[in-house]
């Protein structure tokens, strides 16, 4: 699998950071598997010294939840990094430019109307992620058309389009909220704040597959994403098929953001902040930034979920609140930094 990633252009500091982030992710996963409203000592799980009920809690509730947090963090961060590269714009983020909102609208539509449509439908577990992917895909397509193929239109223009798209999506979600029943309303509210609770393997596996495939789709083009930074015509002169590069990123981001938002709801700022943290650490080439975003994004999200479970026990803080609380000041700082340049 490593052959589809070009590691030649990673310097030694970047390789070291990626290795360190991998270790960090493993540690955070172990801690997060064991801590929570019910604590499992890591060793006793490995040794099999657990009762049947403990084992069920662990494999059916704790593990899928932590894995969901990890893949959502990875997919938001990776698509943030790729969209920033594609737009050649450091402020692109699935949340800010409306991609997450589109996914939430798609998912909400299924929550409210889906039950009457698909009760006996075989693929009903796939319908939610698919509809979310469709929503995020439509938003990216709309951005693509409005910015004339992601041409270099300036930061402000794209953010304004993002605000408009966000507004349109929230109108849609508002209408759905208004016509929803009580139980549907409960599920809808959960999109706006984000949570990893209530996940089951049957919902997790399809999303896992979608996200895994979209990552495989992205890995071979990271080098081309670097070359795109020279400008579109320059990239073409260097033999990059710019059109296919754009479609790959659009498709993969829409699919992975759609799949994760359909399960976790809207979680802001991760896709914006994580790639920038990596750039601050060591360099801007996309092989490093994107792979690093997957690792750091999942670590941070697993950690944020751990906080959400631990801070106000036995209740839970919505994880979207935590990431926004950390991310929004960072976003402000970023705007000031960019303005200075």
């Amino acid at each position: 699998m490593l052959s589809i990633i070009n590691l030649k252009f990673l310097n030694s500091a970047q390789s070291f950071i990626l290795f360190f982030l991998l270790i960090l992710l493993l540690l955070v996963l172990i801690v997060s598997f064991s801590l929570g409203s019910y604590s499992f000592p890591v060793l006793s799980i490995l040794m099999g010294n657990t009762s049947a009920i403990e084992a069920t809690i662990f494999t059916e509730i704790r593990v899928p939840r932590v894995i969901l947090a990890a893949i959502v963090g990875a997919s938001l961060s990776v698509s943030g990094a790729c969209l920033q590269g594609l737009f050649r714009n450091p402020l692109a983020d699935p949340g800010l430019i409306g991609v997450s909102a589109g996914a939430a609208l798609g998912a909400s539509t299924i929550i409210v109307f889906g039950s009457s449509l698909t009760s006996a439908f075989i693929f009903s577990t796939f319908l939610l992620p698919l509809s979310a992917c469709l929503g995020s895909g439509l938003v990216i397509l709309m951005l693509f058309l409005l910015t004339r193929g992601f041409g270099h239109q300036g930061v402000t223009y794209m953010l304004l389009v993002g605000i408009a798209v966000n507004a349109i999506a929230s109108v849609g979600i508002g209408i759905l909220t208004f016509i929803s029943s009580d139980s549907e309303l409960r599920s809808l509210t959960f999109w706006t704040m984000g949570s990893f609770g209530g996940i089951t393997w049957s919902l997790l596996i399809p999303a896992l597959i979608i996200i895994f495939i979209s990552f495989l789709f992205l890995l071979p083009i990271l080098r081309n994403l670097d070359i795109l930074q020279l400008g579109e015509s320059e990239a073409k002169r260097l033999g990059v098929n710019v059109k296919s590069l754009k479609y790959r990123i659009i498709f993969a981001s829409a699919a992975s953001v759609g799949a994760s938002v359909s399960l976790s709801g809207m979680i802001g700022f991760v896709g914006l902040v994580v790639p920038h943290l990596l750039r601050l650490l060591s360099g801007v080439n996309h092989t490093y930034v994107v792979i690093g975003s997957a690792l750091l994004g999942s670590s941070l999200m697993v950690f944020a979920d751990l906080l959400s479970r631990l801070l106000i026990q036995p209740a839970e803080l919505p994880v979207g609140l935590i990431t926004s609380a950390i991310g929004s000041p960072f976003f402000l700082w970023l705007i000031f930094r960019i303005n200075k340049i």
């Binding site: 252009f9 050649r88 015509s233 320059e234 260097l238 990059v240």
Partner: protein, 259 residues
């Protein structure tokens, strides 16, 4: 081996930008295009480099129609140094140069990546800049980095006979005198190694000193084409640029005076 443009015409918004241009860019020679602003020089470069494809006429690369050569293969045949766009993210100089290294299908060269990179960094006098951030460099330094990148794209083992071409749009703009001369010497050296050079210049003295062939473009038409000595005279230059120009020839050297 050459690039041959045959009756190239270009219309843009019903305006005729280029009229029936036929010139040949030969391997191992420097062909320079001169002309006033708006004459269509960059449009012509974009056509023969394969960036623009809505022209009339034919461009032949070693007898093959340019429109039938795919984008990856084109990257091996020619490298272009045009006016560059700003780069948003903070790449290092070394990373920008490395972007010129073509991977796909270039396996026989990939062992030589480090050698090739060091060669072009030294050739373009930017070795001491390689760890700097590209965006902190001056305009002239950035030109040299892009030049190095174009050279890396064309890098071949010394015994290679694959034909290739380098196209440059005002390569010396923003450069100080020392680096102008250094870059022109580097370009001359490439041509003696067999690379075909096509460039757009504004500096007449540099053009007549270094070129093997010169074409003068005015209002979308070639008004003069040939070896520097045979085409150079006061009247042609004066009418092309709308300035009174006096040519002094001394021994083998040509000096241009504006009067």
């Amino acid at each position: 081996m050459s690039i041959y443009s045959k009756d190239i015409a270009l219309f843009y918004d019903e305006k005729e930008i280029l009229k029936d241009i036929s010139i040949e860019i030969r391997e191992g020679k420097i062909t320079t295009l001169l002309g006033p602003n708006g004459a269509g020089k960059s449009s012509f470069l974009n056509i023969i480099s394969g960036d623009l494809d809505f022209y009339n006429g034919e461009v032949l690369y070693n007898q093959r129609n340019l429109k039938e050569i795919n984008i990856q293969e084109k990257a091996f045949l020619r490298s272009v140094m045009a006016q560059s766009q700003p780069i948003v993210f903070d790449f290092s100089v070394k990373e920008i140069v490395e972007m010129g290294w073509l991977e796909k299908g270039n396996i026989k060269y990939s062992d030589n990546f480090k050698t090739a990179l060091n060669e072009v960094l030294i050739e373009c006098d930017i070795d001491y800049l390689k760890n700097r951030k590209f965006n902190t460099l001056s305009g002239g330094e950035q030109r040299r980095v892009h030049f190095a990148r174009s050279l890396l794209q064309l890098w071949r083992e010394s015994n290679s006979v694959d034909p290739c071409y380098l196209m440059l749009d005002e390569p010396t703009s923003n450069l100080d005198l020392f680096h102008q001369i250094k870059m022109m010497n580097a370009i001359k050296k490439l041509s003696t190694e067999g690379i075909g050079i096509f460039m757009i210049l504004h500096d007449l003295n540099l053009a007549f000193k270094y070129s093997d062939y010169i074409a003068i473009l005015k209002n979308g038409k070639i008004i003069s084409f040939g070896e520097p000595k045979s085409i150079i005279n006061d009247d042609v230059l004066s009418s092309a640029f709308g300035v009174k120009i006096q040519v002094n020839k001394k021994d083998d050297n040509i000096f241009i005076n504006y009067v």
